[in-house]
């Protein structure tokens, strides 16, 4: 079984997130290690596109579900463009690099409430792993 498992009814955003993680691991196989030692659930909501997806880190494998989890450890709510932008934002220690303009833009969105990440204080490891798995920077 692969590093990323996608439920059969997943489409759109879920397929894109799965493809991003798969593509990144294919290009850089050591990134598969980012899936190890981390367990938890993440919901991603693209509000303007009206799509949600649930991700589950299973300590070595990422499962992509078509529906969000009732009580996910992390809950990311923003618009479609920001979700795409988050993948190309420069990272420092797994978080947006505020020394770079794109990194500051993401932080600015968080401060304005355009990007909400519930659980980032209690589950920072889960967030940084997700960021690094999705990052194409």
């Amino acid at each position: 079984m692969g590093f990323v498992v996608v439920d059969p009814d997943v489409e759109g955003l879920g397929v894109m997130l799965a493809d991003l993680v798969r593509g990144n691991i294919e290009a850089e196989p050591t990134r598969a290690r980012l899936l190890h030692g981390v367990v938890g659930t993440v919901n991603v909501h693209a509000v303007d596109a009206e799509v949600d997806v649930g991700l589950e880190f299973r300590g070595g494998q990422l499962l992509v579900h078509a529906k969000p989890y009732p009580k996910a450890d992390l809950d990311i709510t923003t618009d479609a463009e920001t979700i795409m932008g988050m993948s190309s934002v420069p990272l420092r220690m797994g978080m947006p690099d505020v020394a770079k303009a794109d990194g500051r833009a993401v932080v600015g969105k968080m401060l304005r409430g355009d990007l909400k990440v519930r659980g980032m204080v209690t589950k920072p490891k889960l967030l940084t792993r997700l960021q690094r798995l999705l990052s194409v920077g």
Binding site: G12, L13, M16, L20, G23, A49, S88
Partner: protein, 141 residues
């Protein structure tokens, strides 16, 4: 005014790509061909799938082909497919392509990390499509 879909429309589109400074900058290091698949909608005047291929290289389009065979088009590095009426919405700027992909209305095949790196260039390609003076096949007088 160019009829969509048609070879004349594709030629106009390619001409506009090649005269776009914004696209040239955003795609300065892009290397790879792209095939758009306009899926059949017989009731709207598109009786069979149409494949439009563009060879994109370092901010320019160095070649194009219209209505190429499936096996040739499907060998492209990137393929974006959707029914004709979805493409019409994209060209008319009624459907944002990123949202469309997230909603599963447009389907992308190819290395997604590469597309994400060049998302600005991809947006420019869509903007340029919207600049072509277009008459849609299902609205022909």
């Amino acid at each position: 005014m160019a009829l969509f879909p048609s070879e004349a429309w594709l030629k106009e589109y390619v001409d506009k790509i090649n005269s776009s400074k914004e696209y040239e900058e955003a795609a300065a290091t892009w290397e790879g061909d792209l095939c758009y698949v306009f899926e059949a909608e017989p009731d709207k005047g598109v009786p069979a799938d149409v494949r439009a291929w563009v060879d994109l290289w370092h901010g320019k389009c160095r070649g194009y082909k219209y209505d190429l065979p499936a096996e040739e088009g499907d060998a492209s590095k990137f393929i974006i497919r959707a029914p004709y009426s979805r493409w019409k919405q994209v060209i008319n700027k009624e459907l944002d392509p990123i949202k469309g992909m997230m909603q599963g209305k447009l389907k992308l095949k190819g290395d997604l990390p590469t597309i994400v790196r060049y998302v600005k260039a991809a947006n420019e390609l869509v903007n340029i499509a919207g600049q072509v003076e277009t008459e849609f096949v299902d609205e022909q007088s």
